[in-house]
Amino acid sequence: MDRSALPVRTTAGSRFLIGFVSDPRRWGVLVAVVLSAGAIWTALSAVPQAAAPDAPTTAPREGFAAPDFRSTLLGGGEIALSDLRGKVVIVNLWASWCPPCRAEMPALQEVYEAYRDRGFEILAVNTTYQDSQAAAARFVQEYGLSFPVPLDQTGEVSRSYLLRALPTSFFIDRDGVIRSVIIGGPMSKTTIQTTVEALLGGD
Protein backbone atom coordinates (compact mmCIF):
# COMPACT_ATOMS: atom_id res chain seq x y z
CA MET A 1 0.00 0.00 0.00
CA ASP A 2 1.18 3.50 -0.82
CA ARG A 3 1.56 4.90 2.67
CA SER A 4 2.34 8.40 1.40
CA ALA A 5 -1.24 8.54 0.08
CA LEU A 6 -2.59 8.66 3.62
CA PRO A 7 -3.94 12.02 4.73
CA VAL A 8 -1.30 13.90 6.71
CA ARG A 9 -3.81 15.23 9.22
CA THR A 10 -7.58 15.30 9.10
CA THR A 11 -9.47 18.46 9.89
CA ALA A 12 -12.79 19.77 8.64
CA GLY A 13 -11.00 21.90 6.07
CA SER A 14 -8.79 19.13 4.71
CA ARG A 15 -11.78 16.78 4.63
CA PHE A 16 -13.65 19.25 2.42
CA LEU A 17 -10.58 19.70 0.19
CA ILE A 18 -10.11 15.95 -0.33
CA GLY A 19 -13.81 15.55 -1.01
CA PHE A 20 -13.85 18.36 -3.54
CA VAL A 21 -10.66 17.47 -5.40
CA SER A 22 -11.44 13.74 -5.53
CA ASP A 23 -15.00 14.28 -6.78
CA PRO A 24 -14.80 13.68 -10.56
CA ARG A 25 -17.86 15.82 -11.26
CA ARG A 26 -17.11 18.94 -9.22
CA TRP A 27 -13.35 18.89 -9.86
CA GLY A 28 -13.97 18.09 -13.54
CA VAL A 29 -16.15 21.18 -13.92
CA LEU A 30 -13.51 23.35 -12.24
CA VAL A 31 -10.71 21.96 -14.43
CA ALA A 32 -12.80 22.46 -17.57
CA VAL A 33 -13.53 26.08 -16.63
CA VAL A 34 -9.90 26.84 -15.72
CA LEU A 35 -8.44 25.24 -18.86
CA SER A 36 -11.00 26.90 -21.18
CA ALA A 37 -10.30 30.27 -19.60
CA GLY A 38 -6.58 29.61 -20.09
CA ALA A 39 -7.05 28.64 -23.73
CA ILE A 40 -9.20 31.71 -24.42
CA TRP A 41 -6.63 33.97 -22.73
CA THR A 42 -3.85 32.38 -24.78
CA ALA A 43 -5.79 33.05 -27.98
CA LEU A 44 -6.63 36.62 -26.90
CA SER A 45 -3.01 37.42 -26.11
CA ALA A 46 -1.64 35.94 -29.33
CA VAL A 47 0.82 38.29 -31.01
CA PRO A 48 -0.46 39.38 -34.41
CA GLN A 49 2.12 38.84 -37.13
CA ALA A 50 2.00 42.52 -38.13
CA ALA A 51 2.97 43.62 -34.62
CA ALA A 52 6.50 42.25 -34.97
CA PRO A 53 8.42 45.30 -36.21
CA ASP A 54 10.97 44.91 -39.00
CA ALA A 55 13.46 47.23 -37.36
CA PRO A 56 13.78 46.44 -33.66
CA THR A 57 13.75 49.26 -31.11
CA THR A 58 17.13 50.75 -30.27
CA ALA A 59 18.50 49.84 -26.84
CA PRO A 60 21.85 48.61 -25.44
CA ARG A 61 20.48 45.13 -24.87
CA GLU A 62 20.40 41.70 -26.47
CA GLY A 63 17.84 41.49 -29.27
CA PHE A 64 17.69 45.25 -29.84
CA ALA A 65 19.28 47.45 -32.50
CA ALA A 66 22.64 48.79 -31.32
CA PRO A 67 22.58 52.55 -30.69
CA ASP A 68 24.49 54.24 -33.51
CA PHE A 69 27.30 56.69 -32.81
CA ARG A 70 29.90 58.69 -34.74
CA SER A 71 33.23 59.43 -33.12
CA THR A 72 36.68 60.72 -33.97
CA LEU A 73 39.34 58.03 -34.00
CA LEU A 74 42.57 57.92 -32.06
CA GLY A 75 45.18 58.90 -34.64
CA GLY A 76 42.70 60.87 -36.75
CA GLY A 77 39.67 60.21 -38.88
CA GLU A 78 36.10 59.40 -37.95
CA ILE A 79 33.95 56.29 -37.80
CA ALA A 80 30.27 55.51 -37.35
CA LEU A 81 28.94 52.19 -36.16
CA SER A 82 26.42 52.23 -39.04
CA ASP A 83 29.35 52.27 -41.51
CA LEU A 84 30.03 48.70 -40.44
CA ARG A 85 26.58 47.30 -41.23
CA GLY A 86 27.03 43.86 -42.80
CA LYS A 87 29.94 43.02 -40.50
CA VAL A 88 29.97 41.37 -37.10
CA VAL A 89 31.13 44.05 -34.66
CA ILE A 90 32.30 44.11 -31.05
CA VAL A 91 31.84 47.48 -29.38
CA ASN A 92 34.18 47.36 -26.37
CA LEU A 93 34.18 50.26 -23.90
CA TRP A 94 37.43 50.67 -21.97
CA ALA A 95 39.81 52.96 -20.12
CA SER A 96 43.59 52.75 -19.83
CA TRP A 97 43.47 52.73 -16.01
CA CYS A 98 41.09 49.76 -15.81
CA PRO A 99 42.95 46.49 -15.04
CA PRO A 100 40.39 44.04 -16.52
CA CYS A 101 40.33 46.16 -19.70
CA ARG A 102 44.09 45.70 -19.90
CA ALA A 103 43.72 41.99 -19.28
CA GLU A 104 41.31 41.33 -22.14
CA MET A 105 42.92 43.51 -24.84
CA PRO A 106 45.48 40.92 -26.03
CA ALA A 107 42.66 38.38 -26.49
CA LEU A 108 40.62 40.90 -28.47
CA GLN A 109 43.64 41.62 -30.68
CA GLU A 110 44.23 37.88 -31.31
CA VAL A 111 40.61 37.22 -32.22
CA TYR A 112 40.61 40.32 -34.42
CA GLU A 113 43.60 39.06 -36.38
CA ALA A 114 42.04 35.61 -36.75
CA TYR A 115 38.60 36.71 -37.94
CA ARG A 116 38.86 40.15 -39.57
CA ASP A 117 39.01 38.63 -43.06
CA ARG A 118 35.63 36.98 -42.48
CA GLY A 119 33.85 40.29 -41.96
CA PHE A 120 34.60 41.04 -38.33
CA GLU A 121 35.43 44.42 -36.78
CA ILE A 122 36.18 45.73 -33.32
CA LEU A 123 35.42 49.27 -32.15
CA ALA A 124 37.34 49.68 -28.90
CA VAL A 125 35.74 52.88 -27.63
CA ASN A 126 38.04 54.67 -25.21
CA THR A 127 36.01 56.44 -22.51
CA THR A 128 38.18 59.53 -23.00
CA TYR A 129 35.96 61.72 -20.78
CA GLN A 130 37.34 59.72 -17.83
CA ASP A 131 40.72 58.92 -19.37
CA SER A 132 43.19 60.88 -21.46
CA GLN A 133 44.00 60.72 -25.13
CA ALA A 134 47.71 60.45 -24.36
CA ALA A 135 47.17 57.51 -22.00
CA ALA A 136 44.94 55.84 -24.58
CA ALA A 137 47.63 56.27 -27.26
CA ARG A 138 50.31 54.78 -24.99
CA PHE A 139 47.99 51.85 -24.21
CA VAL A 140 47.27 51.13 -27.87
CA GLN A 141 50.97 51.22 -28.68
CA GLU A 142 51.91 49.04 -25.73
CA TYR A 143 49.50 46.28 -26.76
CA GLY A 144 49.98 46.76 -30.52
CA LEU A 145 46.25 47.13 -31.16
CA SER A 146 45.36 47.33 -34.83
CA PHE A 147 41.58 47.85 -34.63
CA PRO A 148 39.97 51.32 -34.67
CA VAL A 149 39.80 53.15 -31.32
CA PRO A 150 36.97 55.74 -31.28
CA LEU A 151 37.30 58.43 -28.60
CA ASP A 152 34.25 59.10 -26.43
CA GLN A 153 35.25 62.66 -25.47
CA THR A 154 31.89 63.78 -24.07
CA GLY A 155 30.60 60.52 -22.62
CA GLU A 156 27.78 60.45 -25.16
CA VAL A 157 28.54 56.90 -26.37
CA SER A 158 28.86 55.60 -22.79
CA ARG A 159 25.51 57.18 -21.90
CA SER A 160 23.70 55.76 -24.91
CA TYR A 161 25.10 52.32 -24.05
CA LEU A 162 24.11 52.71 -20.36
CA LEU A 163 27.69 51.99 -19.32
CA ARG A 164 27.81 50.77 -15.70
CA ALA A 165 31.08 48.93 -15.47
CA LEU A 166 34.37 48.79 -17.35
CA PRO A 167 34.96 46.98 -19.56
CA THR A 168 31.65 46.27 -21.26
CA SER A 169 31.40 44.56 -24.63
CA PHE A 170 28.50 44.43 -27.07
CA PHE A 171 28.51 41.74 -29.76
CA ILE A 172 26.57 43.02 -32.78
CA ASP A 173 25.44 40.87 -35.71
CA ARG A 174 25.55 41.73 -39.44
CA ASP A 175 22.13 43.43 -39.22
CA GLY A 176 23.20 45.78 -36.44
CA VAL A 177 21.33 43.87 -33.73
CA ILE A 178 23.03 43.27 -30.37
CA ARG A 179 23.32 39.52 -29.73
CA SER A 180 25.35 39.43 -26.53
CA VAL A 181 26.37 41.89 -23.81
CA ILE A 182 29.24 41.15 -21.46
CA ILE A 183 29.45 43.50 -18.48
CA GLY A 184 32.71 43.47 -16.59
CA GLY A 185 35.74 41.48 -17.48
CA PRO A 186 38.15 40.33 -18.43
CA MET A 187 36.61 38.16 -21.14
CA SER A 188 38.63 35.10 -22.00
CA LYS A 189 39.72 34.54 -25.56
CA THR A 190 37.39 31.55 -25.61
CA THR A 191 34.35 33.66 -24.75
CA ILE A 192 35.16 36.18 -27.46
CA GLN A 193 35.92 33.50 -30.01
CA THR A 194 32.80 31.38 -29.44
CA THR A 195 30.52 34.41 -29.53
CA VAL A 196 32.10 35.84 -32.68
CA GLU A 197 32.10 32.45 -34.39
CA ALA A 198 28.40 31.97 -33.66
CA LEU A 199 27.63 35.39 -35.15
CA LEU A 200 29.78 34.88 -38.25
CA GLY A 201 27.95 31.63 -38.90
CA GLY A 202 29.19 28.84 -41.09
CA ASP A 203 30.25 31.09 -44.00
Binding site: P7, V21, G38, V47, A52, G63, I183, T190, T194
Partner: protein, 252 residues
Protein backbone atom coordinates in the same frame (compact mmCIF):
# COMPACT_ATOMS: atom_id res chain seq x y z
CA UNK B 1 16.52 48.61 -13.88
CA UNK B 2 19.53 48.90 -11.59
CA UNK B 3 21.96 46.13 -12.46
CA UNK B 4 25.05 47.20 -10.53
CA UNK B 5 25.44 48.32 -6.95
CA UNK B 6 28.60 50.32 -6.39
CA UNK B 7 29.98 49.59 -2.91
CA UNK B 8 33.16 51.63 -2.75
CA UNK B 9 35.50 50.01 -5.28
CA UNK B 10 33.26 46.93 -5.63
CA UNK B 11 30.79 46.69 -8.50
CA UNK B 12 28.25 44.13 -7.25
CA UNK B 13 26.10 42.62 -9.97
CA UNK B 14 22.66 42.78 -8.38
CA UNK B 15 20.86 40.11 -10.46
CA UNK B 16 23.42 37.49 -9.49
CA UNK B 17 23.29 38.62 -5.87
CA UNK B 18 19.49 38.26 -5.78
CA UNK B 19 19.70 34.74 -7.23
CA UNK B 20 22.38 33.79 -4.72
CA UNK B 21 20.33 35.09 -1.79
CA UNK B 22 17.33 33.24 -3.27
CA UNK B 23 19.24 29.95 -3.31
CA UNK B 24 20.40 30.53 0.27
CA UNK B 25 16.94 31.43 1.62
CA UNK B 26 15.51 28.52 -0.36
CA UNK B 27 17.88 25.99 1.18
CA UNK B 28 17.10 27.26 4.69
CA UNK B 29 13.38 26.80 3.99
CA UNK B 30 13.96 23.31 2.54
CA UNK B 31 15.69 22.18 5.73
CA UNK B 32 12.88 23.56 7.88
CA UNK B 33 10.14 22.01 5.76
CA UNK B 34 11.95 18.67 5.57
CA UNK B 35 12.10 18.47 9.37
CA UNK B 36 8.34 19.11 9.54
CA UNK B 37 7.74 16.10 7.30
CA UNK B 38 10.10 13.72 9.05
CA UNK B 39 12.68 13.91 6.26
CA UNK B 40 16.33 14.66 6.80
CA UNK B 41 16.98 18.29 5.93
CA UNK B 42 20.68 17.61 5.50
CA UNK B 43 20.01 14.85 2.96
CA UNK B 44 17.61 17.06 1.02
CA UNK B 45 19.82 20.13 0.91
CA UNK B 46 22.93 18.13 0.01
CA UNK B 47 20.92 16.59 -2.82
CA UNK B 48 20.01 20.07 -4.06
CA UNK B 49 23.60 21.22 -3.68
CA UNK B 50 24.90 18.34 -5.80
CA UNK B 51 22.14 19.07 -8.30
CA UNK B 52 23.32 22.68 -8.51
CA UNK B 53 26.95 21.65 -9.01
CA UNK B 54 25.99 19.07 -11.65
CA UNK B 55 23.87 21.71 -13.34
CA UNK B 56 26.79 24.12 -13.59
CA UNK B 57 29.14 21.39 -14.86
CA UNK B 58 26.56 20.18 -17.39
CA UNK B 59 25.91 23.71 -18.60
CA UNK B 60 29.60 24.37 -19.21
CA UNK B 61 30.27 20.97 -20.83
CA UNK B 62 27.23 21.40 -23.06
CA UNK B 63 28.52 24.79 -24.16
CA UNK B 64 32.06 23.49 -24.67
CA UNK B 65 30.83 20.58 -26.80
CA UNK B 66 29.18 23.05 -29.15
CA UNK B 67 32.49 24.91 -29.57
CA UNK B 68 34.82 21.99 -28.96
CA UNK B 69 37.50 23.23 -31.37
CA UNK B 70 37.92 26.38 -29.29
CA UNK B 71 37.95 24.51 -25.98
CA UNK B 72 40.36 21.87 -27.30
CA UNK B 73 42.91 24.66 -27.75
CA UNK B 74 42.16 26.18 -24.32
CA UNK B 75 40.97 23.46 -21.89
CA UNK B 76 41.43 25.77 -18.89
CA UNK B 77 38.48 27.83 -20.18
CA UNK B 78 36.29 24.95 -19.02
CA UNK B 79 36.62 26.23 -15.44
CA UNK B 80 36.15 29.92 -16.26
CA UNK B 81 33.73 31.84 -14.05
CA UNK B 82 32.04 33.46 -17.05
CA UNK B 83 28.28 32.90 -16.82
CA UNK B 84 27.80 33.67 -20.52
CA UNK B 85 29.56 30.50 -21.66
CA UNK B 86 26.94 28.19 -20.15
CA UNK B 87 24.21 26.27 -21.94
CA UNK B 88 21.06 26.49 -19.82
CA UNK B 89 19.10 23.48 -21.18
CA UNK B 90 22.07 21.13 -20.71
CA UNK B 91 22.54 22.44 -17.19
CA UNK B 92 18.90 21.93 -16.21
CA UNK B 93 18.96 18.39 -17.63
CA UNK B 94 22.14 17.51 -15.72
CA UNK B 95 20.76 18.98 -12.48
CA UNK B 96 17.43 17.14 -12.71
CA UNK B 97 19.10 13.86 -13.61
CA UNK B 98 21.50 14.14 -10.66
CA UNK B 99 18.70 15.00 -8.22
CA UNK B 100 16.61 12.10 -9.51
CA UNK B 101 19.45 9.57 -9.19
CA UNK B 102 20.36 10.80 -5.68
CA UNK B 103 16.72 10.76 -4.55
CA UNK B 104 16.33 7.17 -5.73
CA UNK B 105 19.52 6.10 -4.10
CA UNK B 106 18.53 7.71 -0.80
CA UNK B 107 15.05 6.17 -1.14
CA UNK B 108 13.36 9.49 -0.58
CA UNK B 109 9.56 9.26 -0.71
CA UNK B 110 8.55 11.18 -3.85
CA UNK B 111 5.56 13.23 -2.76
CA UNK B 112 6.64 14.28 0.76
CA UNK B 113 9.99 15.32 -0.74
CA UNK B 114 8.31 17.41 -3.42
CA UNK B 115 6.02 18.94 -0.77
CA UNK B 116 9.07 19.90 1.26
CA UNK B 117 10.54 21.64 -1.79
CA UNK B 118 7.41 23.62 -2.73
CA UNK B 119 7.71 26.51 -0.20
CA UNK B 120 11.37 26.99 -1.13
CA UNK B 121 10.62 26.98 -4.85
CA UNK B 122 7.83 29.50 -4.31
CA UNK B 123 10.18 31.76 -2.33
CA UNK B 124 12.95 31.45 -4.90
CA UNK B 125 10.54 32.79 -7.55
CA UNK B 126 10.35 36.09 -5.62
CA UNK B 127 14.13 36.46 -5.81
CA UNK B 128 14.18 35.44 -9.48
CA UNK B 129 11.66 38.26 -10.05
CA UNK B 130 13.92 40.72 -8.19
CA UNK B 131 16.86 39.58 -10.32
CA UNK B 132 14.83 40.25 -13.48
CA UNK B 133 13.76 43.62 -12.12
CA UNK B 134 17.35 44.70 -11.56
CA UNK B 135 18.67 43.36 -14.88
CA UNK B 136 15.73 44.44 -17.03
CA UNK B 137 15.24 40.88 -18.26
CA UNK B 138 11.78 39.39 -18.82
CA UNK B 139 10.65 42.85 -19.88
CA UNK B 140 7.10 43.91 -20.71
CA UNK B 141 5.27 44.74 -23.93
CA UNK B 142 4.93 48.43 -24.87
CA UNK B 143 1.84 50.03 -23.35
CA UNK B 144 0.31 53.45 -22.73
CA UNK B 145 -1.06 52.53 -19.30
CA UNK B 146 -0.33 55.11 -16.57
CA UNK B 147 1.90 52.67 -14.62
CA UNK B 148 4.10 51.91 -17.62
CA UNK B 149 7.84 52.08 -17.00
CA UNK B 150 10.47 53.45 -19.38
CA UNK B 151 12.68 50.53 -20.32
CA UNK B 152 14.64 49.48 -23.40
CA UNK B 153 13.53 52.38 -25.59
CA UNK B 154 9.79 52.19 -24.89
CA UNK B 155 7.11 52.69 -22.22
CA UNK B 156 6.43 49.13 -21.13
CA UNK B 157 4.36 47.01 -18.78
CA UNK B 158 6.32 46.59 -15.51
CA UNK B 159 6.21 42.83 -16.14
CA UNK B 160 8.92 42.10 -13.55
CA UNK B 161 6.85 43.82 -10.85
CA UNK B 162 3.77 41.83 -11.90
CA UNK B 163 5.84 38.64 -11.59
CA UNK B 164 7.13 39.59 -8.12
CA UNK B 165 3.62 40.39 -6.86
CA UNK B 166 2.36 37.07 -8.20
CA UNK B 167 5.29 35.20 -6.63
CA UNK B 168 4.55 36.79 -3.25
CA UNK B 169 0.89 35.80 -3.54
CA UNK B 170 1.93 32.22 -4.35
CA UNK B 171 4.26 32.14 -1.32
CA UNK B 172 1.38 33.23 0.93
CA UNK B 173 -0.99 30.66 -0.62
CA UNK B 174 1.54 27.82 -0.31
CA UNK B 175 2.22 28.81 3.28
CA UNK B 176 -1.50 28.74 4.15
CA UNK B 177 -2.07 25.43 2.36
CA UNK B 178 0.93 23.94 4.14
CA UNK B 179 -0.51 24.65 7.59
CA UNK B 180 -3.04 21.87 7.23
CA UNK B 181 -2.11 19.76 4.20
CA UNK B 182 -5.01 17.48 3.27
CA UNK B 183 -2.96 14.91 1.36
CA UNK B 184 0.65 14.43 0.36
CA UNK B 185 1.52 15.96 -2.99
CA UNK B 186 -1.04 18.72 -2.50
CA UNK B 187 1.50 21.40 -1.69
CA UNK B 188 3.83 20.71 -4.62
CA UNK B 189 1.06 20.23 -7.19
CA UNK B 190 -0.82 23.30 -5.95
CA UNK B 191 2.39 25.36 -6.17
CA UNK B 192 3.03 24.14 -9.73
CA UNK B 193 -0.60 24.79 -10.76
CA UNK B 194 -0.55 28.34 -9.35
CA UNK B 195 2.81 29.08 -10.93
CA UNK B 196 1.64 27.80 -14.31
CA UNK B 197 -1.65 29.69 -14.10
CA UNK B 198 0.16 32.88 -13.12
CA UNK B 199 2.65 32.58 -15.97
CA UNK B 200 -0.18 31.82 -18.40
CA UNK B 201 -1.85 35.07 -17.37
CA UNK B 202 1.20 37.32 -17.09
CA UNK B 203 2.94 36.12 -20.26
CA UNK B 204 0.38 38.21 -22.17
CA UNK B 205 2.09 41.38 -20.88
CA UNK B 206 5.61 40.33 -21.84
CA UNK B 207 7.54 41.94 -24.67
CA UNK B 208 10.04 39.11 -25.13
CA UNK B 209 7.77 36.11 -25.67
CA UNK B 210 8.98 33.25 -27.82
CA UNK B 211 6.36 32.90 -30.56
CA UNK B 212 5.38 29.50 -31.97
CA UNK B 213 2.79 28.35 -34.50
CA UNK B 214 2.65 31.75 -36.14
CA UNK B 215 1.40 33.92 -33.31
CA UNK B 216 1.04 31.96 -30.05
CA UNK B 217 3.27 32.51 -27.02
CA UNK B 218 5.19 29.30 -26.26
CA UNK B 219 5.22 29.93 -22.49
CA UNK B 220 1.42 30.06 -22.44
CA UNK B 221 1.08 26.74 -24.27
CA UNK B 222 3.56 25.07 -21.92
CA UNK B 223 1.82 26.60 -18.89
CA UNK B 224 -1.55 25.38 -20.14
CA UNK B 225 -0.22 21.83 -20.47
CA UNK B 226 1.44 21.96 -17.02
CA UNK B 227 -1.75 23.38 -15.50
CA UNK B 228 -3.84 20.57 -17.00
CA UNK B 229 -1.36 17.95 -15.82
CA UNK B 230 -1.16 19.28 -12.26
CA UNK B 231 -4.94 19.65 -11.88
CA UNK B 232 -5.31 16.04 -12.99
CA UNK B 233 -2.49 15.03 -10.63
CA UNK B 234 -4.25 16.74 -7.71
CA UNK B 235 -7.39 14.72 -8.46
CA UNK B 236 -5.45 11.44 -8.51
CA UNK B 237 -3.59 12.18 -5.27
CA UNK B 238 -6.85 13.14 -3.54
CA UNK B 239 -8.55 9.92 -4.71
CA UNK B 240 -5.64 7.81 -3.50
CA UNK B 241 -5.78 9.54 -0.11
CA UNK B 242 -9.52 8.96 0.11
CA UNK B 243 -9.21 5.27 -0.80
CA UNK B 244 -6.36 4.76 1.65
CA UNK B 245 -8.42 6.37 4.38
CA UNK B 246 -11.43 4.15 3.65
CA UNK B 247 -9.28 1.03 3.63
CA UNK B 248 -7.71 1.91 6.96
CA UNK B 249 -11.15 2.63 8.43
CA UNK B 250 -12.65 -0.66 7.22
CA UNK B 251 -9.64 -2.48 8.64
CA UNK B 252 -10.44 -1.18 12.11
Amino acid sequence: MFPILQVGPLAVQLPGLFLLVGVWVGSVIVEREAAKRGLSGAVLSSMLFFGLVAGLLGARLGYALRYWTVYAGDPLALVSLNLKTLSAPDGVAAALLTILVLARRRRLPLWPTLDALAPALATFAVFAGLADLSSGNAFGAPTSLPWAIELWGAARHPSQTYAILLAVAVVVAVHRLGRRPAFSGLLFLAWLAMTAAGRLFLEAFRGDSVIVLGSLRAAQLISLAVLGGTLFGLHRRARLALEAEMRSRSAE
